[in-house]
């Protein structure tokens, strides 16, 4: 059952939120042992919230557009009184004293937060294998990774535990796992969804976004999330975009730029699905043209300077002084070092060191400043492309889901997973991954639609058309 169906049933009293919640909890209890999508299931919290939704319905009050819909929360979203680990040992024992703005918005919309999902530590990774609490497995094939870093939320939706999930996308962390798990995953325009309460990885790139089984459900959730928040200075002062109403509007006359630079590095089966999607859009009335954006190839290098640089600063606060893990030592500096050595995993340490180096005196201009110039170049390239097309079309990830353990010892191979998703983060633009058939291995392929800043309505409109044209794929749970 999709989110819109659940909400409609709960709003009209056909089903109780409590019943929906119990079903979801039972499914997780029965089947998450092998998937490990959740780090913590919030059974009591979910039940009491569901009861409140039912009371609203019974009392004739509007329970909200997500009435009774179970939602999976990535574990880098702060939840009051509930552990928020970011997949790391270093936050051991920490319970935030506040809810992230998106969590408040979900509650206000009647949603039921079902649990906190697994992730690569501090969102650094593309397979959810960098979690300190063990990997998540891909529900479509449990020998494969779900992608990452929001692998837990993608897997929760793919496994049918929750109709909706929240992730965060810094370089592709929503879209890539969505592609690998065969669900819809969307990254909004930077500033459209409040980051308040999202534990920062790279502040100028991070955005929270929705996972859902369908484009329409993703739009429903996005419309709830896209609100101005005075607690986030980078949050834009705009009204909710009402994307749900355009999901089935079709693509007649829409100019779609098929972008080889977002396809050429991909496996042939993935590339084939993207070309099929382009043909399907053309058949639906879109004007499809090939468009080159060669600057995209520099995105990855710039990203792996900027994101670690910001991370090196954002993660400094995990020093053992105020919260989380503390490993005692003879003085404060030694305690900091012992705590961070014990608390962080290898990938996090690697990126902190990369970022620290890139910002160091004497290297700043050659690395950080240069990467910012490349970022500007990528933004200008997008701008140029969007003078002749309305949206871009490409692959989301270079391959279908890869085996667990396959890339853990090869950071560069892992980083290459983000090659098609990173440009949108650098530019702050919205993009979405929509399932479109399967690869040679029978595993899901995601097609990526990219749109200019704040063009979410157009983005969901095209995504809806891609979904409508996609081959039907039935997955066993």
């Amino acid at each position: 059952m999709g989110a819109r169906d659940v909400a409609a049933a709960v709003r009209t009293g056909q089903r109780s939120a409590r019943e929906v919640t119990e079903e979801a909890l039972a499914a997780v209890a029965a089947r998450d042992g092998e998937t490990h999508a959740f780090l913590e299931v919030l059974a009591d919290v979910a039940r009491s919230r569901a009861t409140a939704v039912d009371a609203a319905v019974a009392g004739g009050r509007d329970p909200g557009p997500l009435a009774g819909v179970p939602v999976a929360l990535k574990d880098n979203l702060c939840t009051r009184g509930i552990p928020t680990t970011c997949g790391s040992r270093i936050l051991d024992g920490w319970r935030p004293p506040y809810d992230a703005t998106v969590v408040e918005l979900l509650h206000a919309a009647g949603a039921v937060a079902l649990g906190k999902t697994n992730m690569d530590e501090f969102a650094m990774g593309s397979s959810t294998e960098n979690s300190a609490f063990g990997p998540t497995r891909n529900p479509r094939d449990r020998e494969k990774v779900p992608g990452g870093s929001s692998g837990g939320s993608a897997a929760a939706v793919a496994a049918g535990f929750t109709p909706l999930g929240l992730g965060s996308d810094t370089g592709g962390s929503i879209r890539q796992p969505a592609a690998l798990c065969g669900v819809v995953g969307m990254k909004p325009t930077y500033g459209r969804v409040s980051r308040y309460g999202l534990v920062a990885f790279a502040s100028s790139l991070d955005q929270i976004g929705p996972f859902a089984a369908t484009v329409g459900d993703a739009a429903l959730l996005y419309d709830v999330l896209a609100q101005h928040d005075p607690c986030d200075t980078t949050s834009l002062r705009l009204d909710s975009p009402a994307t749900l109403e355009v999901v089935e509007a079709g693509v007649d006359g829409v100019r779609v730029g098929l972008c080889p630079d977002l396809i050429e590095g991909c496996a042939p089966d993935v590339a084939a699905r993207v070309y099929e999607a382009a043909e399907a859009l053309a058949a639906a009335g879109a004007k499809v043209d090939e468009i080159r954006v060669p600057e995209f190839r520099y995105g990855l290098s710039a990203y792996y300077i900027i994101a670690p640089a910001e991370a090196s600063s954002n993660l400094a606060r995990y020093d053992g002084v105020r919260y989380g893990l503390r490993v005692d030592a003879e003085d404060a500096a030694a305690m900091n070092m012992a705590t961070r050595t014990a608390g962080f995993g290898a990938e996090v340490k690697r990126r902190i060191m990369l970022g620290t180096y890139a910002l160091s005196a004497g290297y700043y201009d050659a690395y950080y400043a240069q990467a910012q110039r490349v970022r500007t170049l990528v933004m200008q390239a997008f701008e140029r492309a969007y003078t002749s097309v309305d949206v871009l079309l490409g692959a989301t990830a270079p391959t279908t889901a890869f085996p667990l353990g396959d890339k853990v010892d090869d950071p560069m191979a892992m980083y290459m997973n983000d090659i098609c998703t990173i440009p949108s983060n650098l530019a702050g633009h919205p993009a979405v991954s929509v399932p479109f058939g399967v690869g040679d291995d029978g595993l899901p392929v995601g097609v990526q639609v990219l749109a200019p800043a704040l063009a979410e309505r157009l983005l969901f409109q095209v995504a809806g058309a891609v979904e409508a044209a996609a081959p039907r794929t039935e997955w066993s749970a």
């Binding site: 534990v199 090196s312 606060r317 020093d319 002084v321």
Partner: protein
């Protein structure tokens, strides 16, 4: 260097001013001094994961006032992160303005007319406060430390001077004048003892007459005008001794030990932190538009220099050195409004200035709170001769102590009721009649008897007569 070289000290000051805002720089916590530790804190100023800063408009406004008062240009600016690990630093980075400060390129004129260049005055957040516990409270020997984050995120403006200052006296004058300006703009409460202003001094020495700068040392931890002066004196002497002894000064950061009265190495240039500044991605650029700047300028009152000029005008023409001192004191204490009002109400300017600078200032805080009407009344009584100088001072003191009382009433209660003119004339006539021989000598020109007659009249009137009026009456009778 020969030991008879005349040395010149070159000083630049960095002054951290805590802004007197209602709330902190990036969150809604109260900005208050002296409260229970860790009570004015929230996820933002504790640097909890997921929290984000939101810039306080009042702090920006006060920063613009400071910039305007220091003749700076107000620029579009941005924030950066200064990264370093320290337990009092909630995020292990400080949000500060770095390459794009809000105020650039101004000056401050000392009371003597000397201008000190101001390089910049930028916004940043304060850290928490560490208290080292055990083993005498010293950093190196403490057993553990307590952190109070009430101060974390309190807004600061750091005002950086050019190395234009040439003596300890100038440095102190600069700090004092700056304090006056910060208080006058409403940016600061000026309470040095509460850490509202903290000083770092960059000190170097060079032979007089040369224009190459010597190697400088930065001295930290100066929390009063007195320690500022002492530290600079000590440091200049230390550097001169080094050079005259054939050694050279090493560029480093030094810590002022108030108790020991000397500076000590904190860290050398090589050990200096690499702060890895980069633009703060959580904040958008700060671009105060013309309209906002205009409103800030319009809301500003006169600065201490302007207020001193007004008082000097009232005193008339060129103020004496004593009067200049009184004018400075009156303006520093914020008593100038009282003085001006008193003069407008008819009190003599010199008298109002003197009573404010001496008697009211001596009363401390309560003296500053004396109602204008009371001050004016006392001065008028003294000017009209209803009170002698001594009586006037006593009534002022009583008026300060008894808030809200009528000075005329107080004077009556104290028995200072002035004698009526008739009573005085009669009293003088009686005294003259009682001492015919002395009066004859006095009339013939024996001026030494002036005091004799005045004293006798005073005694006869139990001290209620006004000395000046007695003298006048004696002169009239003498012919």
């Amino acid at each position: 260097m020969s030991s008879d070289t005349v040395w010149e000290t070159v000083i630049g000051l960095e002054v951290h001013c805590e802004l007197a805002t209602t709330t902190k720089l990036f969150c809604g916590c109260r900005n208050a001094f002296g409260e229970e530790p860790n009570t004015n804190v929230c996820p933002v100023c504790l640097g909890l994961p997921g929290s984000l800063p939101v810039l306080n408009a009042q702090a920006v406004e006060l920063a613009m006032r400071i910039g305007t008062a220091l003749h700076c240009e107000i620029h579009a600016s941005s924030f950066a992160r200064k990264n370093y690990f320290y337990p009092d630093q909630a995020k292990d980075y400080q949000i500060s303005q770095y390459d794009e400060p809000i105020n650039v390129g101004g000056w401050l004129e000392l009371p003597g007319g000397f201008r000190v260049g101001v390089t910049r005055a930028h916004l940043e957040e304060d850290t928490g406060k560490l208290t080292h516990v055990g083993a005498g409270g010293r950093i190196n020997s403490a057993r553990h430390a307590l952190v109070d984050y009430n101060r974390s995120g309190v807004p600061l403006v750091e005002i950086v001077s050019e190395p234009d200052i040439r003596s300890t006296a100038q440095a102190r004058a600069y700090a004092a004048e700056l304090r006056g300006i910060l208080v006058a703009t409403g940016a600061s409460d000026g309470r040095l003892e509460e850490g509202s202003m903290r000083f770092d001094a960059n000190v170097s020495v060079r032979p007089g007459g040369t224009d190459q700068f010597g190697t400088r040392c930065e001295i930290k931890n100066l929390n009063s005008l007195r320690s500022l002066g002492r530290a600079i004196e000590y440091e200049a002497a230390r550097q001169i001794a080094l050079i005259e002894g054939g050694e050279s000064v090493t560029q480093e950061t030094r810590h002022w030990d108030e108790a020991a009265g000397r500076t000590q190495t904190m860290r050398s240039k090589e050990e200096a932190n690499d702060y890895r500044y980069f633009p703060e991605p959580d904040l958008v650029p700060l671009v105060p538009d013309e309209e906002w700047q205009r409103r800030v300028r319009a809301a500003m009152g006169p600065m201490p220099a302007d207020r001193r000029a007004i008082l000097a005008d009232l005193v008339g023409g060129s103020a004496s050195e004593a009067e200049s001192d009184q004018i400075r004191a009156v303006v520093d204490l914020g008593l100038d409004g009282l003085v001006v009002d008193a003069v407008l109400a008819g009190a003599p300017a010199q008298l109002a200035l003197a009573r404010a600078a001496n008697e009211l200032a001596a009363e401390g805080e309560p003296g500053l709170a004396l109602p204008q009407s009371s001050f004016v009344t006392v001065l008028q009584m003294e000017a009209k001769g209803e009170l002698s100088a001594t009586q006037s001072k006593a009534v002022l003191s009583a008026a300060v102590a008894a808030v809200g009382s009528d000075p005329r009433e107080l004077a009556r209660e104290m028995g200072f009721e002035a004698l009526g003119a008739d009573t005085l004339t009669a009293a003088v006539a009686e005294v003259v009649a009682a001492h015919p021989d002395e009066w004859a000598r006095y009339v013939e020109g024996d001026d030494k008897l002036d005091g004799f007659f005045t004293g006798a009249v005073m005694k006869a009137t139990s001290g209620k007569a006004n000395g000046k009026e007695v003298a006048a009456e004696l002169r009239r009778l003498r012919g």
